[in-house]
Symmetry: C2
Subunit: 206 residues, 2 copies
Amino acid sequence: MTGARGYHHGDLRRVLLTAAVVAIEESGPAALSLRDLARRAGVSHAAPAHHFGDKPGLLTALAVEGFDLLAAALQTGDSLLEMGVAYVDFAVRRRAHFEVMYRPDLYRVDAPEVVAARGRSRAVLRSAVADLPPGPGAVGGVAGDALAAWSIVHGFATLWNAGALPDEAGDDPRAAARVVIRRLFGSRVDARGRAAPPARSPRTPA
Amino acid sequence: MTGARGYHHGDLRRVLLTAAVVAIEESGPAALSLRDLARRAGVSHAAPAHHFGDKPGLLTALAVEGFDLLAAALQTGDSLLEMGVAYVDFAVRRRAHFEVMYRPDLYRVDAPEVVAARGRSRAVLRSAVADLPPGPGAVGGVAGDALAAWSIVHGFATLWNAGALPDEAGDDPRAAARVVIRRLFGSRVDARGRAAPPARSPRTPA
DNA sequence: CGGCATATCTTGTCAATGGCAAGATATGCT
DNA sequence: AGCATATCTTGCCATTGACAAGATATGCCG
């Protein structure tokens, strides 16, 4: 672990991953080139292969990191509303990770590390929705609430990142997300659900 | 316009576009290869370039077609609920088009034909939302309603296509979408808005 | 300290791709 | 008939992903 640039780079794996984030933010995941990453890191064109095997391998590592970062980001919001805002905020600020995570044709979605990390982030969302006081039109129960919440927040984030939203949406994704989420859940969503009701939530997220 | 396979193919442009749809459905838009399309169409590897210039050019044409198909599909539903279901249905059945449409790094989003076609599909959604009876928690007015509706429907469709939804979502995207949409708008959404109120909607989409 | 197994990185190579240029062939217009 | 143009082909080059073989550093064990 020298960190210097001898024959052994020191922390090439990490350097390549952050270089990938930069490159994806510049030109999207489709245009990602392993050789370009190697150039940015100052190593030979075949060095990345040792750490990640191939391109899907690198993006798999990036997706795993993304799901873990997402789980951590979601933990910070204590109400479902704030958790939704955190989801959108994650998608916008860690755009490269987010774009890869939901593009199954780019990496190995079934890799065990991916399944585990995705499960972790999903558990966080689930526990927050489970603590939500039941609303009037609760057709599908908790699963329906979770699906609706996830959908609206994911859709908003995706459309925002794609630049598909008209100008009226403003330039603050967090504020705009807040309005949209409140429209789904009304004021139910402001309750600090995850702490207030003593019973109802059997799963504490690890 | 012979349709036969002489030197002139007859309808190569259309053949290439549908071949692209097939290829994208098989392996995703990232793996799309112009040369592979040419092979499928039985022409030389440089033939596609004449019709579309380059790869982004081909995907631009596909996106335009997609936005027009989407606008047409949305017209069929007469309530906002059914329009949302139609959106999801479009995303699932015309998956290749849909995946390209919201991937700005793959094609020329600012091409005038794209802007026009996207505007057409957006107008259809807008007119339906405008006719919706105002609900209780209407914070942002019509624009907020439209944003929320579009977000939830787009997010659901995207997650469905990405295979990100857990099994509880079932195997019928239309039914699951219906549940989710109703959770956003309640019973307001069942009103046959676009026909009932005589005023309010000045734009008849072409 | 010496020596070997291993991890890490490099160099060299190959097939496939996107894109360009130049040429061949069909079509339409007058 | 004859020319302009649209359509398609062949040939070429730089870049890329992937693999193989070799070079160099690191750790381990005596």
